[in-house]
Point group: C2
Chain length 126, copies 2
Amino acid sequence: MSKQSLSIVNPADAGEACCAPLVREPLGETEAAELAPLFKALADPVRLRLLSLIACHEGGEACVCDLTAAFDVTAPTISHHLKVLKQAGLIDSERRGTWVYYWLNPGVLDRLAATLGPRATAASAS
Amino acid sequence: MSKQSLSIVNPADAGEACCAPLVREPLGETEAAELAPLFKALADPVRLRLLSLIACHEGGEACVCDLTAAFDVTAPTISHHLKVLKQAGLIDSERRGTWVYYWLNPGVLDRLAATLGPRATAASAS
């Protein structure tokens, strides 16, 4: 059976905010390969909470000293999870004196959200 | 350092569609534990494309016979990935005669999208 025989909903025919891109047209190999490592980085409860704590922290950034108290895991484990989040491109960091500070790369979460669900921007513009 | 010393943005103070729940308030342990396995199921390019193909297929459902042609992997591998997606609760299935048909559990993707990005519903209602 060829790819052509699959019945695909044309994105142009879909309502503005009715469907996620994932639901409107088949995800390409390249995009799937780009997205999978981002979801893998999110596939851990500690990393999800770390990401959220960093995002919620005053000024949108946090140092490791702000994060470790919320978890029952060791500081090296927190550091490992931060490294995984950074390597995936979800967060970025900078050393200032003694501490390394972390912040979210906000565009990345928006991209993931927009892939999975209806676009908030399109809905608010209608 | 206690949890109390973390500076948290009050969700009530945040703009309606400005931020994802993840960014408005720290993700709880329970929610993080519920979300992580869903992201883990999405953390594979073949599974992402399978999910998308099922969602885009006519009538919002597809049988394995509709899916295998799009991939360079074997039918048992496709079946394995479908099982992972189903066990995570992202898709559901039903046998009808020879074939098993699969469809998306749409609420699950919406929940993930709403966790990561601004809510489309809130934005359109404003």
